[in-house]
Symmetry: D2
Subunit: 258 residues, 4 copies
């Protein structure tokens, strides 16, 4: 938050990996991050760096706010559906998210010590994770429509989100849903789609900048389950920052990432 | 399925840990287990051995069908709420379930080999797991109201289920919900309840016959998240079988289990 | 170190799980633990609580020093052989020791954080671990004869030591070596011996107070490999303390431990 | 074994990753691999592909036998010392080896199933692993001088070997030993040496073609502990095969590997 200004003044393009510039307003930041935002004027300038949805603005931005890890996997899975009116929002969207331990950062902490994490699985920040407003802001969902739980997997890296919703009448079949995703992601270098009924696991995306998306659709009841998987240290962090940098500096978007 | 009859004929009380006698009808068994039920007459006699809800019938039964691991954790969490009319069922109930690898049984299998499981997390049987009808039968939910995904955690033992629903108007607050659970489980030796906002992790129940239940309730939007945790090898299998045996033979219910 | 005196003065029997009273002299303590020993008078009184070798003295002791985890596994494996003159000491004894992460204690530490330990294996305190003098004092080996490396396994609990030496002429065969161990441990409740060529793994001793010992002996070259396994949190810590307490208070030695 | 001949006849250069051509004679193969060698004439032609010691012959070879994973880490650590007469061989060399589970190959097997391996550590092939003769053949040690135990770490990938020996009078200090290694490996692209007292862990070499070597030397007693670490899937398998291919085809040796 404090470093971006001086860097911009010095003429640098800035890609911020923290949460400082993700939420749009100082009030929202204060509400979810529990501290005052000291650079509100930069908030207006900051461009949200989810290339699949803001490619053009990223290319032109001075200050890019790299998305959070959980919101990256969530928004890539649901935003195309929201935009297409494919979700019956009145029934709500559930996002059950799981992350490897590196998502907590590298530090001495009892909570992330080996013996607390191994042979364990635990939930945290149920319904009030600070990544929730970021998903809402990008996807267009309201808070009451989006239920999110973060959970810790005893692994090093990876985020897998299991997303439940009821499809609207626009989605008559699994093929309809796949067509919808394909229409949106056909030429995206870092989103991979699976055949209906097939879903990614975390080894599929480890050490890559891919977001893999698969789903199961029960036509009769319109219930859908989408699974979205990324490596939180790559597409969820440094890899997506490089993707943003490539766009900002006019390099090929996939440079260093494939 | 084949052994129960001869054992009963020989005068034994039988506690079946398989899925052979859980589903009530031969048709249902055929549908979900993909094989013909050869002992339909025993199906009628079998008592579902979830002591917290069928204690009296278990004590008198000759043939007890020990519940599946996933249904045990699911039904203990949702059945009291369903019975009390506390869930707005029209919005559906989501059960995102995770299990340690011992749930797959002890056998040579590529799927459960160390290198496939470690540093991984994967979903299977999305919306069509054979434990689904067992949950429906006990809880009273309809298939279209209950969305279930099974997932594999890289640990040995433990099941954690994250359950999402919208509460009905009967639940004005978190305290209401806790009171509801307390009313049902106050004197249960193997169900432990957590204060609102507190939830169990898997180390809390490992090597025990407890089912631990905690929840988070967002009063404003009526969204609730309940977390239910058991050790799949104890309350989810052999431990609950012993609990049933204790009831059937007139021993103290907790004998050998506390 | 500081608490033992006042407790003894108050009439208590004291079992110390720390390393404060294991090394016999204040000088030795200073040398290996890098701090001054403030209670040298108690050092003389302290009895080393390895019941398999000091049972009588433990029963009579006011102050019992519970052995370290690594020395427990090492001494149970090699002391019977040293006493019987079964090891050709001039060739040296190698003890390659591995421990689960709980051996480091429960605390916030980068070194024992999940992401540093998982998918890793690392050595520490090579040739200069503070448990070395404890092994020497009990076994009778000289420092130059005993090479010890401690290593961290990405598991919660368990110590496995792989011990290499050349047998003396007293050991003509694997059966001779087994007879030697049997003679010493026949009536020990917490030492289990394996047939020649069979060795324990860590799951065999997890959550128990057993020390399991197995070995391979190459008669032609007199090379022997002994594997000794304990649960560092039980026989290596609290379990052995209870075993000592049972002896000190006149309870059956196995009370609460089998 | 069977495929190499036809491939050579067809004009291909062959790099064999199996153990078929590592042991020099059909008798030795039969003894350690427990099956008859069907291509003894090819055994004579096969060149052992440890580039650090056979670079010239590899470049000219038609049939290259890629070294085993354990022997790669062992020989890179001890061969320079043997050649320099730096080891007092009469005291023996102990190699305590640990491997990740991928070393067992990808297959359905109870032994390598998740629940058998997690929270465990186990030894196998004590003193009689089939990689022993390969180490002897390359290093020049005799069987009676080399004690080897293989052990399974609950991780995916990586081999760490802890090697114990007594140094000869040619090694007066840790600096002498380092100088010896440096003299041998100075210009090697895939061997990294550590300062005396520093040793590698497995995360240091994961996903790389490096062999990292560190040691501790106790000048007073001449006892030395060398730790050698590789990724068994890279320098221990496919990576070293590529290194051989680069040499055989005249590419830069590090192509695709750095």
């Amino acid at each position: 938050m404090e470093l971006a200004g001086p860097m911009l003044d010095a003429g640098a393009r800035v890609i911020d990996l923290s949460g400082a510039f993700r939420l749009g307003t100082a009030e929202n930041y204060q509400l979810w991050y529990k501290e005052r935002h000291t650079q509100p004027e930069l908030l207006k300038e900051a461009v949200y760096g989810l290339p699949e949805f803001c490619r053009g603005r990223v290319a032109a931005a001075r200050l890019i706010s790299k998305p959070g890890c959980y919101p990256t996997a969530a928004n890539l899975a649901i935003k195309p559906l929201i935009e297409a009116g494919a979700i019956a929002r009145e029934f709500g969207v559930v996002c059950d998210a799981k992350s490897g331990v590196s998502g907590a950062g590298r530090k001495a902490s009892l909570k992330t010590s080996f013996c607390e994490v191994t042979e364990n699985f635990s939930a945290y920040s149920i319904l009030d994770h600070r990544h929730v407003p970021e998903v809402l802001r990008t996807s267009g969902l309201d808070e009451g429509e989006f239920s999110f739980t973060a959970q810790l997997i005893p692994i090093h890296r990876g985020i897998l989100e299991t997303i439940y919703f009821r499809a609207s009448e626009k989605v008559a079949s699994a093929d309809d849903m796949l067509a919808l995703y394909r229409g949106r992601y056909e030429s995206e270098p870092f989103v991979r789609l699976y055949a209906p009924g097939q879903v990614p696991d975390l080894q599929a995306v480890a050490h890559t900048n891919f977001c893999d998306i698969g789903f199961k659709y029960d036509q009769k009841t319109r219930r859908a389950v989408v699974i979205s998987a990324i490596d939180n240290l790559v597409k969820g962090a440094a890899g997506q920052a490089i993707q943003n940098m490539n766009l900002a500096l006019g390099y090929p978007e996939t440079a260093g990432l494939l």
